[in-house]
Subunit: 197 residues, 2 copies
DNA sequence: TGATGTATACCGACCAGTGAATATACTCAA
DNA sequence: TTGAGTATATTCACTGGTCGGTATACATCA
């Protein structure tokens, strides 16, 4: 029976992620991250060149799991295209009801780094949002919607989702997420109509 | 000929506002605000009990002018209800193209204060967003849309707008604001349809 | 023995907030 | 009208604490 082989670097990113997501990157010190990981600050700086490096690593680990959830929620929801999109928003609303939920880590980090557009974490955030938009576009196209309409619709659905992330966080009221889901469904149906007509 | 009688307090809020909006509240020190205002830090603390006080004052001064712009843009745009809503988004897109534009100060501040829900600045941000939503709802109702549908539509338009604030800031691409305007117009027309049907 | 990883202890910069003294402007009695 | 007294407004210099990051030495293992 071998020891649990959790690589140190992963553990550090995980500890940092919890703190960064929970309190915001500027509100969390490297000392706090080291404490949380049960490690000296010097060790932290052995594995990451700087705080900025650690922030970037934190966001990069969040990209894939996030999109995987969308895929699963979409697949699991019964019904037509609009219903399946609503399913994603319903699951997001459910997540948002958890007290530890603090919105979208990508969006919040990008707000904190607003004047550093070249920061690797900003690039990670942009890439993530673009991947989400592209995934929606592909889904719509596979459902028979023309490419151009699919891309437009995907962009608008993502806008609704990000708006809901911000507003739900502000008001601490997950029902805004369901209002966003309803709006997304209306846009999907409107696009389907346009496709037929 | 009297001297220009600009009250000190106002000047301090203005200087603070420029820095807070431009760089974020956590990134700006009280020393920086004092310097910007051409005043000693001690003077700053004579007029404001704490940095939190100053942050709250900054947001409170931004509430009314912001809504006034919406009213003007809406009134100035020719066309039906959907077109007039699109007019607001077009003006927002135009603003967003200015290099000093940094999204919505209310939303960005609320992200930086995510763990202080009782902070006066958070209350100001919530109040502002609610007033915007309510204004849209009144406009829709005056245009003949039923109260319940108006409230739902207003909420969804605000979601699109806030999503666009976040996404335009992330990608530094104002065309997302126009995509949001298009989505809003589609929702307006869909609601009008539903009203007639 | 040399590469990898961790610990102790520290640094200079910055930051929110303050103590004590001073300057300015207003009030009111002589 | 003037001068003393008072409230307002501002300055200089400072503090205790935190922050990102580091110099150095010690441990472990191939």
């Amino acid at each position: 029976m071998s020891n649990t082989p959790i690589p140190t670097r992963e553990r550090l990113i995980e500890a940092a992620g919890k703190l960064f997501y929970g309190e915001g990157i500027r509100a969390v010190s490297m000392d706090a991250v080291a404490d949380k990981a049960g490690v000296t600050k010097r060790t932290l700086y052995y594995h990451f060149r700087s705080k900025d490096d650690l922030i970037a690593a934190y966001l990069e680990t969040r990209d894939q799991p996030n999109l995987a959830l969308f895929r699963r929620w979409f697949a699991e929801t019964e019904g037509g295209l609009a219903e399946k999109v609503v399913g994603i928003f319903r699951h997001l609303a459910q997540s948002a009801r958890h007290p530890k939920w603090k919105g979208c880590g990508f969006l919040r980090t990008s707000v904190e780094l607003v004047n550093l557009p070249g920061h690797p974490a900003m690039k990670a955030a942009r890439a993530h949002k673009q991947r989400a938009e592209q995934w929606f576009a592909e889904v719509f196209e596979e459902a028979g919607i023309a490419r151009e309409l699919s891309q437009q619709l995907a962009r608008q659905v993502v806008l609704l989702m990000d708006g809901a992330f911000a507003v739900v966080l502000l008001h601490r009221d997950a029902s805004y997420m369901e209002a966003a889901g309803d709006a997304a469904a209306r846009l999907v149906r409107d696009t389907e109509q346009r496709q037929l007509g």
